[in-house]
């Protein structure tokens, strides 16, 4: 077994701040939207907390963006420019999750600090970090001050559309959270990836296995 320093401190802080914000935003989101189903806090409290953590998430997003752009690590999110190579990589990774993992095959991807994500992760996280989260941030800010951003809301097609986009992304993030956490357990051991997200170091077999 060898130790790989996969997650620098800044990344770990960003991750856990993000994780906690997401969790709070999802839970307060339930309180804001589904009050007829579950009522733990008042609408007002839920909105206030949602707003605070929304801004924490925005702050964190920019920390992440600056860190990744300045450090040059952003390339870990960029899939290979070769379409064939990307597609083959995706198929290979999908085959692993859909078949190989059950029959004891090795994960075709081996994480290194410079090549952290497999092609499927790359396309998923790139979309999440560059498209979905910014879109969620924008729609969130618009909903935060509907009157102030009335012009932009009008351009977007109305408050109902803005909110629908926000809710669709909210539902996506919520459902993705289950997949994300599950995938995090598919390391060398079930807790390996999670532990690495705290310590920064991941223990990998000498021949290098990863999810």
């Amino acid at each position: 077994m060898k130790k790989l320093y996969l997650h620098p401190m800044a990344v770990r802080i960003c991750h856990w701040l993000n994780a906690f914000s997401f969790l709070v935003l999802i839970l307060t989101g339930i309180q804001i939207r589904y009050r007829d189903v579950i009522k733990v806090t008042s609408f007002r409290t839920a909105v206030d907390i949602h707003n605070i953590f929304g801004f924490i998430l925005i702050f964190n997003f920019f920390l992440w963006l600056i860190y990744y752009l300045v450090s040059g690590k952003f390339k870990v999110y960029i899939p290979t420019f070769s379409l064939k190579g990307f597609l083959l990589g995706c198929i290979r990774q999908a085959r692993y999750y859909g078949y190989g993992i059950f029959v004891g095959e090795e994960n075709p991807h081996h994480s290194t600090p410079d090549n952290k994500f497999n092609p499927m992760q790359q396309v998923a996280y790139l979309n999440i970090m560059v498209l979905f989260i910014p879109l969620q941030i924008i729609t969130g800010i618009l909903l935060w001050d509907l009157k102030g951003f009335a012009y932009w809301i009008g351009l977007a097609g109305g408050v109902k559309i803005v909110d629908s986009v926000h809710v669709l992304l909210y539902l996506f993030f919520t459902s993705f959270l289950f997949v994300h956490v599950y995938l995090a357990t598919l390391g060398h051991t079930a807790g390996e990836h999670i532990k690495a997200m705290f310590t920064g170091y991941e223990e990998v077999p000498e021949h290098g296995h990863s999810h």
Partner: protein
């Protein structure tokens, strides 16, 4: 009557007998002597010569005087022959009619004193007449006790006597008489002129003001019939004098009437008369009249609702009170027609303040304006009106209400400040740039036959598909019209029951909950030609329908009117996300033997090696 009595005295007095025959006979009866006879004869002769010519001269001089005296006496005798009867009659009549205690009771139990004021009658134009001159059925021998149903009927019957001297043709010459007696229920003469104290009009008409002249008749209990409806013509002088128009003469408003003119005007009914006479107000109050012309009241009137209020309905005709009076609880005229609304107002925070003596507290006209009363539009927030007084309302709401401006735009003030009332979401087709409602005529033009779909959706109301069709049709016309929504009250009247702000809805949960009672009904509000709003039922499901994502893209309460489609999608997505690890873990569990076998094979291969 004293004239009668004077004449009675003249007629019944005895004149002293002054005939020369009786004096002469007394002289002849005295005894006489010769000397004395001679002396007497001398004197007699001298007397004859002196007194004869003197007597002749005297006779000649006195003859015309005597003749005049005889003529006067004869005339006096002739006159006293009839006057003597009148006086007797008058004395007899006054024997009873001078008493205060003689009272006549009519069929309807009305009582009337039959006392005659001798002095007033003497001063009247009829002072030369005898009682029976008018009361021809009554004489010294006969005093029938006629029965009359009422005082009025008595007056009508007795006034017939006037015609004996004053012919119909003679009366019709004067416009006032023509106006009065041309009516089917013309008032009896005595109604205006009185009965026993009638004065000649020429004596006082000139000196009287126009109002005094008019009130001569019109302060009496006069009435007329307008197509079967009784119209009182009586003007309460006290109220008139107390009105804001007290300094105006009658003809100031009733310009076609004066001391010399009194045209007869015909009206279909009393209401038409009121409407016509209200037109005179614009002569002075032009601005108010024009404001009224732009009001819902004038609009209704012009459309044929003749009961819609005109000037006199609110201000009265003659007892026009000051403006301040109309701003009091008892003086506001609106309550006459809008009683239920006024009751709601009375219970409101405004009404309570007014009743407690706060003169600044608003009343009907404070919000609705006095003359340019606009139709109550349930779909519109009265924000501008409320903020007219509550200038800090926007700032106060911002202190605690997130997105306060948006809330204040989309929700009528009354929706939160009348917490007990039922709510409705009003949809309106509006001009996207100005925000003004598209009226019925324009909407019909835009939608064509599709307009009927909008208004005849039936009990369940317009559904989302039809709303989408409407939206498409509006878009096809490039009309720049959109559909906007506002939360208001179902019943306009309830808007007046504004509660104290401590009772206002403040809990966000009241709206931002799918079970909110605020979104139970939805209606389409269309502005009718008279400015009123017509409401057509819309199925409440449209608020949460994905089809209305574009048509109703502006009205949205997070949680309260959320899209049902996203609920279903959300369940699928979340369960989908959860199923990934569950299914994958299950498969991993089921495939443990495969991996175990593979591991053993590998170990075996490594062992062989």
């Amino acid at each position: 009557m004293s004239r009668f009595y004077d004449e009675v005295v003249v007629a019944s007095g005895t004149s002293p007998d002054m005939s020369p025959d009786k004096c002469g006979r007394a002289d002849h009866e005295a005894p006489l002597t010769d000397d004395s006879q001679t002396r007497f004869q001398k004197i007699r002769t001298a007397g004859i010569f002196v007194l004869g010519p003197l007597s002749g001269l005297l006779f000649i001089c006195l003859l015309p005087l005597m003749s005049l005296l005889i003529v006067v006496t004869l005339l006096s005798k002739m006159a006293s022959a009839s006057d003597g009867m009148q006086s007797e009659e008058a004395a007899m009549c006054m024997g009873c009619h001078a008493s205060q205690d003689v009272v006549k009771t009519f069929g309807n139990k009305e009582k009337m004193s039959v006392r005659i004021s001798e002095r007033h009658f003497k001063d009247s134009v009829h002072g030369f007449l005898s009682c029976t001159g008018c009361h021809s059925k009554v004489s010294m021998d006969n005093h029938p006790s006629a029965q009359y149903a009422s005082r009025k009927e008595f007056a009508v019957q007795i006034s017939q006597a006037c015609k004996g001297c004053h012919s119909h043709e003679q009366l019709m010459v004067k416009p006032m008489h023509r106006a009065a007696i041309s009516r089917s229920n013309a008032p009896p003469c005595s109604e205006c002129h009185g009965s026993h104290s009638i004065r000649k009009s020429a004596g006082w008409k000139e000196a009287a003001s126009t109002s005094q002249y008019c009130l001569t008749c019109h302060k009496k209990d006069l009435s007329t019939s307008v197509n079967g409806e009784t119209l009182s013509l009586m003007i309460d002088e006290k109220l008139l004098r107390g009105s804001v128009h007290s300094s105006h003469e009658c003809s100031y408003c009733h310009s076609e009437y004066s001391k010399t003119t009194h045209p007869l005007r015909e009206f279909k009914n009393k209401r038409e008369l009121s409407i016509a006479f209200s037109g005179v107000c614009k002569g002075c109050h032009t601005d108010k009249y024009q404001q009224h012309q732009g009001s819902i009241h004038a609009s209704l009137l012009n459309q044929g609702n003749r009961n819609a209020p005109v000037c006199t309905d609110c201000h009265g005709a003659h007892a026009v009170g000051p403006k301040l009076l109309a701003e009091t609880m008892s003086g506001t005229p609106c309550r006459k027609c809008h009683e239920s609304t006024f009751e709601a107002y009375k219970s409101s925070v405004h009404g309570q303040a007014k009743m407690s003596g706060n003169t600044k507290a608003p009343i009907c006209s404070s919000c609705h304006s006095a003359h340019q009363v606009m139709p109550a539009l349930a779909s519109r927030s009265p924000k501008a009106t409320c903020f007219g007084c509550h200038k800090d309302a926007a700032a106060l709401h911002k202190e605690w209400l997130p997105n306060a401006d948006l809330h204040l735009d989309a929700i009528a003030c009354t929706a939160c400040h009348v917490p007990e009332a039922e709510h409705t979401v009003y949809l309106r087709v509006t001009d996207s740039s100005s925000g003004a409602s598209i009226n019925k005529a324009k909407l019909k033009e835009y939608l064509g036959p599709g307009y009927d779909d909008l208004t005849s959706a039936g009990k369940n109301g317009l559904d989302d598909k039809h709303l989408w069709t409407v939206y498409q049709q509006l878009g096809d016309k490039k009309s720049a019209a959109g559909i906007t929504g506002t939360l208001g009250l179902q019943d306009c009247n309830k808007s007046h029951s504004l509660a104290s702000k401590k009772w206002a809805v403040k809990q966000c949960d009241s709206c931002h909950d799918a079970n909110s009672k605020f979104f139970k009904t939805v209606a389409m509000a269309i502005i009718a030609p008279d400015g009123h709003e017509e409401h057509y039922a819309v199925n409440r499901a449209v608020l949460g329908s994905v089809i209305t994502l574009l048509p109703i893209n502006q009205f949205y309460a997070i949680g309260g009117t959320r899209l049902r489609f996203l609920d279903i999608l959300g369940i699928l997505m979340v369960f989908g996300g959860m199923s990934v690890p569950i299914v994958h873990l299950t498969l991993r569990f089921l495939t443990i033997p495969i991996r175990e076998a593979k591991r053993l094979n590998k170990l075996r291969r490594e062992g062989r090696r």
